[in-house]
Protein backbone atom coordinates (compact mmCIF):
# COMPACT_ATOMS: atom_id res chain seq x y z
CA UNK A 1 0.00 0.00 0.00
CA UNK A 2 2.96 2.27 0.56
CA UNK A 3 3.29 3.28 -3.06
CA UNK A 4 -0.44 3.94 -3.35
CA UNK A 5 -0.46 6.30 -0.33
CA UNK A 6 1.00 9.08 -2.45
CA UNK A 7 -1.40 11.14 -4.47
CA UNK A 8 -1.25 14.07 -6.87
CA UNK A 9 -0.07 17.36 -5.40
CA UNK A 10 -2.92 18.97 -3.46
CA UNK A 11 -3.82 22.62 -3.02
CA UNK A 12 -3.61 24.21 0.45
CA UNK A 13 -7.40 24.07 0.67
CA UNK A 14 -7.31 20.32 -0.03
CA UNK A 15 -4.60 19.80 2.60
CA UNK A 16 -6.35 21.83 5.25
CA UNK A 17 -10.06 21.24 4.89
CA UNK A 18 -10.18 18.24 7.23
CA UNK A 19 -7.86 19.84 9.84
CA UNK A 20 -9.94 23.04 9.68
CA UNK A 21 -13.12 21.04 10.21
CA UNK A 22 -11.59 19.22 13.19
CA UNK A 23 -10.33 22.45 14.69
CA UNK A 24 -13.77 24.03 14.30
CA UNK A 25 -15.33 20.96 15.87
CA UNK A 26 -12.91 21.10 18.85
CA UNK A 27 -13.28 24.82 19.45
CA UNK A 28 -17.05 24.64 19.02
CA UNK A 29 -17.21 21.82 21.55
CA UNK A 30 -15.03 23.63 24.07
CA UNK A 31 -17.14 26.78 23.93
CA UNK A 32 -20.50 25.00 23.74
CA UNK A 33 -19.73 23.08 26.93
CA UNK A 34 -19.17 26.37 28.73
CA UNK A 35 -22.49 27.86 27.67
CA UNK A 36 -24.77 25.43 29.40
CA UNK A 37 -25.48 22.05 30.93
CA UNK A 38 -27.51 19.10 29.64
CA UNK A 39 -27.55 18.94 25.83
CA UNK A 40 -24.75 21.53 25.64
CA UNK A 41 -22.44 19.14 27.47
CA UNK A 42 -23.46 16.15 25.33
CA UNK A 43 -22.92 18.10 22.10
CA UNK A 44 -19.57 19.36 23.40
CA UNK A 45 -18.42 15.82 24.08
CA UNK A 46 -19.48 14.62 20.62
CA UNK A 47 -17.75 17.56 18.87
CA UNK A 48 -14.54 17.01 20.86
CA UNK A 49 -14.64 13.25 20.39
CA UNK A 50 -14.76 13.63 16.61
CA UNK A 51 -11.02 14.39 16.13
CA UNK A 52 -10.11 11.54 18.51
CA UNK A 53 -12.39 9.09 16.72
CA UNK A 54 -10.99 10.07 13.34
CA UNK A 55 -7.38 9.58 14.44
CA UNK A 56 -8.26 6.20 15.97
CA UNK A 57 -9.90 5.22 12.68
CA UNK A 58 -6.76 6.07 10.70
CA UNK A 59 -4.59 4.26 13.23
CA UNK A 60 -6.63 1.12 13.06
CA UNK A 61 -6.59 1.24 9.30
CA UNK A 62 -2.80 1.33 9.28
CA UNK A 63 -2.50 -1.31 12.00
CA UNK A 64 -4.68 -3.74 10.05
CA UNK A 65 -2.41 -3.51 6.98
CA UNK A 66 0.60 -5.86 7.03
CA UNK A 67 3.97 -4.29 7.80
CA UNK A 68 7.41 -5.56 6.92
CA UNK A 69 9.59 -4.32 9.70
CA UNK A 70 7.54 -3.30 12.73
CA UNK A 71 6.50 -6.18 14.93
CA UNK A 72 5.33 -4.07 17.84
CA UNK A 73 1.63 -3.33 17.97
CA UNK A 74 1.14 0.12 19.40
CA UNK A 75 -2.48 0.74 18.57
Amino acid sequence: MSSSTRIARQSLAQVFWVPALLMGSSLGGLVLGLTGDGWHDHAAVILLALPLALSTHHWRRSASTPRNDDKKDRS
Partner: protein, 383 residues
Amino acid sequence: MTRKTIKSWLFIHKWSSLVSTLFLLMLCATGLPLIFHDEIEAASQNHGSQQNGPPSASQGLPLDDIVARAVRLGGGVPLFVGFSQDDAIITVTTGPKPSSPESDMRLFSFNRATGESVGEIKEEGVMHVLLELHTDMFLGLPGMLFLGVMGVLFVLAILSGLVLYAPFMRRLPFGTVRPSASKHVKSLDTHNLLGIVTLGWALVVGITGIINAFADPLTNAWRDGELARMVSAYQGKAPLDPARYASIDRAMAQAKAARPGLSPQFIGFPGGAWSSAHHYAIFFQGDTPVTSHVLTPALVDAETGTLTAMATMPALNQALMLSKPLHFGDYGGWALKLIWAAMTLATMWVLITGLQLWLRKNASDIDRRVDEILSGAKADMAA
Protein backbone atom coordinates in the same frame (compact mmCIF):
# COMPACT_ATOMS: atom_id res chain seq x y z
CA MET B 1 7.16 27.07 0.10
CA THR B 2 10.86 27.51 -0.61
CA ARG B 3 13.62 25.44 1.01
CA LYS B 4 14.72 28.50 2.91
CA THR B 5 11.28 29.13 4.37
CA ILE B 6 10.91 25.50 5.39
CA LYS B 7 14.34 25.62 7.00
CA SER B 8 13.38 28.63 9.10
CA TRP B 9 10.13 27.05 10.27
CA LEU B 10 11.92 23.79 11.03
CA PHE B 11 14.38 25.76 13.16
CA ILE B 12 11.52 27.42 15.11
CA HIS B 13 9.66 24.11 15.47
CA LYS B 14 12.75 22.23 16.64
CA TRP B 15 13.92 24.70 19.25
CA SER B 16 10.55 25.77 20.64
CA SER B 17 9.72 22.10 21.22
CA LEU B 18 13.13 20.91 22.39
CA VAL B 19 13.40 23.56 25.10
CA SER B 20 9.89 22.90 26.43
CA THR B 21 9.34 19.15 25.83
CA LEU B 22 10.45 17.83 29.22
CA PHE B 23 8.39 20.44 31.07
CA LEU B 24 5.39 19.79 28.83
CA LEU B 25 5.65 16.05 29.50
CA MET B 26 5.75 16.84 33.24
CA LEU B 27 2.69 19.11 32.85
CA CYS B 28 0.80 16.37 30.96
CA ALA B 29 1.77 13.68 33.48
CA THR B 30 0.73 15.79 36.49
CA GLY B 31 -2.28 17.27 34.70
CA LEU B 32 -3.72 13.85 33.86
CA PRO B 33 -4.64 12.90 37.47
CA LEU B 34 -5.56 16.51 38.25
CA ILE B 35 -8.41 16.29 35.70
CA PHE B 36 -10.05 13.86 38.10
CA HIS B 37 -9.12 15.66 41.34
CA ASP B 38 -12.78 16.07 42.40
CA GLU B 39 -13.46 12.35 42.08
CA ILE B 40 -10.14 11.34 43.69
CA GLU B 41 -10.59 13.71 46.61
CA ALA B 42 -14.23 12.73 47.12
CA ALA B 43 -13.21 9.07 47.21
CA SER B 44 -10.33 9.60 49.62
CA GLN B 45 -12.07 12.05 51.98
CA ASN B 46 -15.46 10.41 51.95
CA HIS B 47 -17.60 13.06 53.63
CA GLY B 48 -20.54 10.67 53.59
CA SER B 49 -23.65 12.41 54.87
CA GLN B 50 -21.63 15.29 56.29
CA GLN B 51 -22.24 17.35 53.17
CA ASN B 52 -26.00 16.85 53.07
CA GLY B 53 -28.16 19.95 53.20
CA PRO B 54 -29.07 22.95 51.08
CA PRO B 55 -26.21 24.63 49.15
CA SER B 56 -24.08 26.65 51.55
CA ALA B 57 -24.10 29.55 49.07
CA SER B 58 -27.83 30.06 49.56
CA GLN B 59 -28.76 29.16 53.14
CA GLY B 60 -27.80 27.65 56.48
CA LEU B 61 -26.55 28.86 59.85
CA PRO B 62 -25.41 32.49 60.16
CA LEU B 63 -21.98 33.13 58.64
CA ASP B 64 -20.87 34.88 61.85
CA ASP B 65 -21.57 31.64 63.73
CA ILE B 66 -19.58 29.46 61.27
CA VAL B 67 -16.65 31.91 61.19
CA ALA B 68 -16.56 32.04 65.02
CA ARG B 69 -16.36 28.22 65.09
CA ALA B 70 -13.41 28.27 62.68
CA VAL B 71 -11.58 30.94 64.67
CA ARG B 72 -12.09 28.88 67.84
CA LEU B 73 -10.46 25.92 66.09
CA GLY B 74 -7.66 27.72 64.26
CA GLY B 75 -7.06 30.87 66.31
CA GLY B 76 -6.08 34.16 64.69
CA VAL B 77 -8.42 35.93 62.29
CA PRO B 78 -10.69 34.85 59.42
CA LEU B 79 -9.21 35.36 55.93
CA PHE B 80 -11.62 33.72 53.50
CA VAL B 81 -15.02 32.03 53.46
CA GLY B 82 -15.74 29.68 50.56
CA PHE B 83 -19.24 28.59 49.51
CA SER B 84 -20.52 25.54 47.65
CA GLN B 85 -23.26 25.76 45.01
CA ASP B 86 -23.98 22.02 45.31
CA ASP B 87 -23.89 20.95 48.95
CA ALA B 88 -23.88 22.27 52.51
CA ILE B 89 -20.08 22.37 52.83
CA ILE B 90 -18.64 25.79 53.69
CA THR B 91 -14.94 26.48 54.24
CA VAL B 92 -13.25 29.10 56.40
CA THR B 93 -9.57 30.02 56.07
CA THR B 94 -7.87 31.45 59.13
CA GLY B 95 -4.41 32.87 59.76
CA PRO B 96 -2.41 34.63 62.50
CA LYS B 97 -3.01 38.08 60.94
CA PRO B 98 -5.06 39.65 58.09
CA SER B 99 -2.09 39.70 55.69
CA SER B 100 -0.84 36.18 56.53
CA PRO B 101 0.97 34.41 53.68
CA GLU B 102 -0.52 31.20 52.28
CA SER B 103 1.96 29.06 54.23
CA ASP B 104 0.48 30.30 57.55
CA MET B 105 -3.14 29.71 56.58
CA ARG B 106 -5.39 26.94 57.91
CA LEU B 107 -8.53 25.74 56.16
CA PHE B 108 -11.54 24.36 58.04
CA SER B 109 -14.70 22.95 56.57
CA PHE B 110 -18.17 22.78 58.10
CA ASN B 111 -21.67 21.72 57.23
CA ARG B 112 -23.53 25.03 57.10
CA ALA B 113 -26.88 23.39 57.75
CA THR B 114 -25.82 21.77 61.03
CA GLY B 115 -22.68 23.73 62.00
CA GLU B 116 -20.89 20.42 62.40
CA SER B 117 -17.13 20.52 61.71
CA VAL B 118 -16.16 18.36 58.72
CA GLY B 119 -12.48 18.66 59.56
CA GLU B 120 -9.40 20.64 58.69
CA ILE B 121 -8.32 20.45 55.05
CA LYS B 122 -4.56 19.98 54.97
CA GLU B 123 -2.62 20.89 51.86
CA GLU B 124 -0.70 17.66 51.69
CA GLY B 125 -0.82 14.29 49.96
CA VAL B 126 -0.20 13.20 46.42
CA MET B 127 -2.81 15.45 44.78
CA HIS B 128 -1.38 18.52 46.47
CA VAL B 129 2.16 17.63 45.33
CA LEU B 130 0.90 17.12 41.76
CA LEU B 131 -0.92 20.44 41.82
CA GLU B 132 2.16 22.29 43.11
CA LEU B 133 4.36 20.64 40.47
CA HIS B 134 1.86 21.52 37.78
CA THR B 135 1.42 25.13 38.92
CA ASP B 136 4.88 26.30 39.92
CA MET B 137 7.16 23.27 40.59
CA PHE B 138 7.31 24.38 44.28
CA LEU B 139 9.09 27.57 43.18
CA GLY B 140 6.33 30.11 43.76
CA LEU B 141 5.82 32.98 41.33
CA PRO B 142 9.11 32.47 39.41
CA GLY B 143 8.09 28.85 38.81
CA MET B 144 4.64 29.90 37.59
CA LEU B 145 6.07 32.47 35.19
CA PHE B 146 8.68 29.98 33.96
CA LEU B 147 5.95 27.44 33.14
CA GLY B 148 4.05 30.29 31.47
CA VAL B 149 7.03 30.82 29.18
CA MET B 150 7.11 27.06 28.46
CA GLY B 151 3.44 27.46 27.49
CA VAL B 152 4.37 30.21 25.04
CA LEU B 153 6.97 27.88 23.49
CA PHE B 154 4.33 25.13 23.31
CA VAL B 155 1.99 27.41 21.34
CA LEU B 156 4.90 28.43 19.09
CA ALA B 157 5.72 24.75 18.49
CA ILE B 158 2.08 24.03 17.60
CA LEU B 159 1.87 26.92 15.15
CA SER B 160 5.22 26.15 13.47
CA GLY B 161 4.17 22.50 13.28
CA LEU B 162 0.98 23.60 11.55
CA VAL B 163 2.98 25.55 8.97
CA LEU B 164 5.22 22.53 8.26
CA TYR B 165 2.17 20.29 7.97
CA ALA B 166 1.25 21.95 4.66
CA PRO B 167 4.29 21.04 2.50
CA PHE B 168 4.54 17.63 4.18
CA MET B 169 0.96 16.62 3.43
CA ARG B 170 0.83 17.97 -0.13
CA ARG B 171 1.02 14.46 -1.57
CA LEU B 172 -0.47 12.47 1.26
CA PRO B 173 -4.17 12.06 2.05
CA PHE B 174 -5.31 13.18 5.52
CA GLY B 175 -4.59 10.69 8.26
CA THR B 176 -1.90 8.74 6.40
CA VAL B 177 0.11 6.43 8.66
CA ARG B 178 2.16 4.47 6.15
CA PRO B 179 2.04 0.89 7.40
CA SER B 180 4.92 -0.66 5.53
CA ALA B 181 7.29 2.16 6.18
CA SER B 182 10.21 2.24 8.59
CA LYS B 183 9.84 3.04 12.29
CA HIS B 184 11.08 6.52 11.64
CA VAL B 185 8.45 7.29 9.01
CA LYS B 186 5.83 5.81 11.27
CA SER B 187 6.90 8.15 14.09
CA LEU B 188 6.72 11.07 11.69
CA ASP B 189 3.27 10.12 10.40
CA THR B 190 1.96 9.56 13.93
CA HIS B 191 3.45 12.85 15.09
CA ASN B 192 1.66 14.65 12.25
CA LEU B 193 -1.66 12.85 12.61
CA LEU B 194 -1.96 13.24 16.39
CA GLY B 195 -0.56 16.75 16.22
CA ILE B 196 -3.16 17.89 13.71
CA VAL B 197 -6.18 16.27 15.42
CA THR B 198 -5.30 17.67 18.86
CA LEU B 199 -4.52 21.11 17.39
CA GLY B 200 -7.66 22.97 18.58
CA TRP B 201 -7.67 21.47 22.05
CA ALA B 202 -3.93 21.87 22.56
CA LEU B 203 -4.02 25.52 21.49
CA VAL B 204 -6.84 26.28 23.92
CA VAL B 205 -5.27 24.40 26.83
CA GLY B 206 -1.87 25.96 26.02
CA ILE B 207 -3.15 29.53 25.81
CA THR B 208 -5.37 29.22 28.91
CA GLY B 209 -2.41 27.68 30.74
CA ILE B 210 -0.32 30.73 29.86
CA ILE B 211 -3.08 33.03 31.15
CA ASN B 212 -3.30 31.01 34.37
CA ALA B 213 0.46 31.33 34.86
CA PHE B 214 -0.06 35.07 35.17
CA ALA B 215 -2.94 34.72 37.66
CA ASP B 216 -1.10 36.23 40.64
CA PRO B 217 0.21 39.34 38.86
CA LEU B 218 -3.25 39.82 37.30
CA THR B 219 -4.97 39.60 40.69
CA ASN B 220 -2.44 41.98 42.23
CA ALA B 221 -2.91 44.41 39.37
CA TRP B 222 -6.69 44.33 39.92
CA ARG B 223 -6.30 44.89 43.68
CA ASP B 224 -3.84 47.77 43.25
CA GLY B 225 -5.72 49.34 40.34
CA GLU B 226 -9.46 48.79 39.95
CA LEU B 227 -10.10 47.80 43.58
CA ALA B 228 -8.01 50.68 44.94
CA ARG B 229 -10.07 53.11 42.82
CA MET B 230 -13.35 51.60 44.05
CA VAL B 231 -12.36 52.27 47.66
CA SER B 232 -10.34 55.46 47.06
CA ALA B 233 -12.23 57.24 49.86
CA TYR B 234 -10.44 54.98 52.34
CA GLN B 235 -6.96 55.93 51.17
CA GLY B 236 -4.64 56.82 54.02
CA LYS B 237 -6.79 55.17 56.70
CA ALA B 238 -5.01 52.69 58.97
CA PRO B 239 -5.91 49.01 58.29
CA LEU B 240 -9.03 47.91 60.12
CA ASP B 241 -8.44 46.08 63.41
CA PRO B 242 -10.07 42.59 63.22
CA ALA B 243 -11.63 43.26 66.65
CA ARG B 244 -13.85 45.86 64.94
CA TYR B 245 -15.16 43.63 62.12
CA ALA B 246 -18.92 44.03 61.72
CA SER B 247 -21.37 41.18 61.11
CA ILE B 248 -20.61 39.22 57.92
CA ASP B 249 -24.28 38.29 57.60
CA ARG B 250 -25.23 41.97 57.56
CA ALA B 251 -22.57 42.64 54.92
CA MET B 252 -23.89 39.74 52.83
CA ALA B 253 -27.47 41.02 53.14
CA GLN B 254 -26.38 44.49 51.96
CA ALA B 255 -24.55 43.08 48.95
CA LYS B 256 -27.40 40.73 48.02
CA ALA B 257 -29.89 43.59 48.22
CA ALA B 258 -27.82 45.51 45.65
CA ARG B 259 -27.80 42.64 43.14
CA PRO B 260 -30.52 40.11 43.94
CA GLY B 261 -30.32 36.67 42.38
CA LEU B 262 -26.55 36.31 42.35
CA SER B 263 -24.89 33.56 44.32
CA PRO B 264 -21.77 34.17 46.47
CA GLN B 265 -18.66 32.11 45.70
CA PHE B 266 -16.25 33.39 48.34
CA ILE B 267 -15.54 36.28 50.70
CA GLY B 268 -12.11 37.91 50.97
CA PHE B 269 -11.52 39.51 54.36
CA PRO B 270 -9.81 42.89 54.89
CA GLY B 271 -6.07 43.01 54.34
CA GLY B 272 -5.81 39.86 52.19
CA ALA B 273 -4.84 39.41 48.53
CA TRP B 274 -8.47 39.62 47.41
CA SER B 275 -9.66 42.73 49.28
CA SER B 276 -8.75 46.17 50.53
CA ALA B 277 -7.60 46.84 54.09
CA HIS B 278 -11.11 47.92 55.13
CA HIS B 279 -13.59 45.76 53.23
CA TYR B 280 -15.27 42.45 53.03
CA ALA B 281 -14.98 41.60 49.33
CA ILE B 282 -17.93 39.32 48.55
CA PHE B 283 -17.43 37.65 45.17
CA PHE B 284 -20.63 36.72 43.38
CA GLN B 285 -20.84 34.46 40.39
CA GLY B 286 -23.25 35.15 37.52
CA ASP B 287 -26.52 33.28 37.13
CA THR B 288 -25.99 31.91 33.60
CA PRO B 289 -23.67 29.01 32.74
CA VAL B 290 -21.09 31.33 31.14
CA THR B 291 -21.23 34.11 33.71
CA SER B 292 -21.07 31.57 36.54
CA HIS B 293 -17.33 31.51 35.80
CA VAL B 294 -17.03 35.29 36.00
CA LEU B 295 -16.96 36.99 39.39
CA THR B 296 -18.46 40.30 40.47
CA PRO B 297 -17.08 41.63 43.76
CA ALA B 298 -19.19 43.66 46.21
CA LEU B 299 -17.06 45.70 48.59
CA VAL B 300 -18.73 46.14 51.95
CA ASP B 301 -17.20 48.32 54.66
CA ALA B 302 -16.10 45.74 57.23
CA GLU B 303 -16.59 48.15 60.13
CA THR B 304 -20.03 49.58 59.33
CA GLY B 305 -21.41 46.78 57.17
CA THR B 306 -22.52 49.21 54.42
CA LEU B 307 -21.94 48.65 50.71
CA THR B 308 -19.15 50.83 49.27
CA ALA B 309 -19.07 49.64 45.64
CA MET B 310 -19.90 46.76 43.35
CA ALA B 311 -18.48 46.29 39.85
CA THR B 312 -17.57 43.53 37.45
CA MET B 313 -13.87 42.80 37.14
CA PRO B 314 -11.73 44.13 34.24
CA ALA B 315 -11.68 42.19 30.95
CA LEU B 316 -8.25 40.67 31.60
CA ASN B 317 -9.34 39.28 34.96
CA GLN B 318 -12.56 37.97 33.39
CA ALA B 319 -10.45 36.25 30.73
CA LEU B 320 -8.43 34.70 33.54
CA MET B 321 -11.59 33.34 35.18
CA LEU B 322 -12.97 31.94 31.91
CA SER B 323 -9.61 30.40 31.13
CA LYS B 324 -9.69 28.25 34.27
CA PRO B 325 -12.50 25.88 33.24
CA LEU B 326 -11.13 25.77 29.68
CA HIS B 327 -7.76 24.67 31.06
CA PHE B 328 -9.05 22.21 33.69
CA GLY B 329 -11.82 20.62 31.59
CA ASP B 330 -14.02 20.33 34.67
CA TYR B 331 -17.16 21.97 33.30
CA GLY B 332 -18.90 19.26 31.33
CA GLY B 333 -19.13 16.18 33.51
CA TRP B 334 -17.41 12.81 33.30
CA ALA B 335 -17.41 12.38 29.52
CA LEU B 336 -15.62 15.70 29.01
CA LYS B 337 -13.01 14.70 31.59
CA LEU B 338 -12.36 11.47 29.69
CA ILE B 339 -11.90 13.49 26.48
CA TRP B 340 -9.45 15.74 28.36
CA ALA B 341 -7.52 12.66 29.46
CA ALA B 342 -7.46 11.18 25.94
CA MET B 343 -6.31 14.51 24.47
CA THR B 344 -3.57 14.73 27.12
CA LEU B 345 -2.35 11.22 26.27
CA ALA B 346 -2.40 12.06 22.55
CA THR B 347 -0.40 15.23 23.25
CA MET B 348 2.15 13.21 25.24
CA TRP B 349 2.48 10.88 22.27
CA VAL B 350 3.10 13.86 19.98
CA LEU B 351 5.85 15.03 22.36
CA ILE B 352 7.41 11.57 22.56
CA THR B 353 7.37 10.95 18.81
CA GLY B 354 8.81 14.44 18.36
CA LEU B 355 11.67 13.51 20.68
CA GLN B 356 12.18 10.23 18.81
CA LEU B 357 12.44 12.11 15.53
CA TRP B 358 15.05 14.41 17.01
CA LEU B 359 17.04 11.59 18.63
CA ARG B 360 17.43 9.50 15.48
CA LYS B 361 20.77 9.51 13.73
CA ASN B 362 21.55 12.29 11.26
CA ALA B 363 18.80 14.38 12.81
CA SER B 364 21.08 17.36 12.57
CA ASP B 365 21.22 17.02 8.80
CA ILE B 366 18.78 19.81 8.15
CA ASP B 367 18.86 19.44 4.36
CA ARG B 368 17.71 15.87 4.60
CA ARG B 369 14.81 16.90 6.79
CA VAL B 370 13.81 19.64 4.38
CA ASP B 371 13.86 17.04 1.57
CA GLU B 372 11.67 14.82 3.66
CA ILE B 373 9.10 17.55 4.09
CA LEU B 374 9.27 18.87 0.54
CA SER B 375 8.80 15.45 -0.99
CA GLY B 376 5.80 14.73 1.19
CA ALA B 377 8.14 12.32 2.91
CA LYS B 378 8.56 9.80 0.12
CA ALA B 379 6.95 6.59 1.18
CA ASP B 380 10.08 4.52 1.21
CA MET B 381 12.51 7.06 2.58
CA ALA B 382 15.11 5.29 4.73
CA ALA B 383 15.31 5.88 8.44
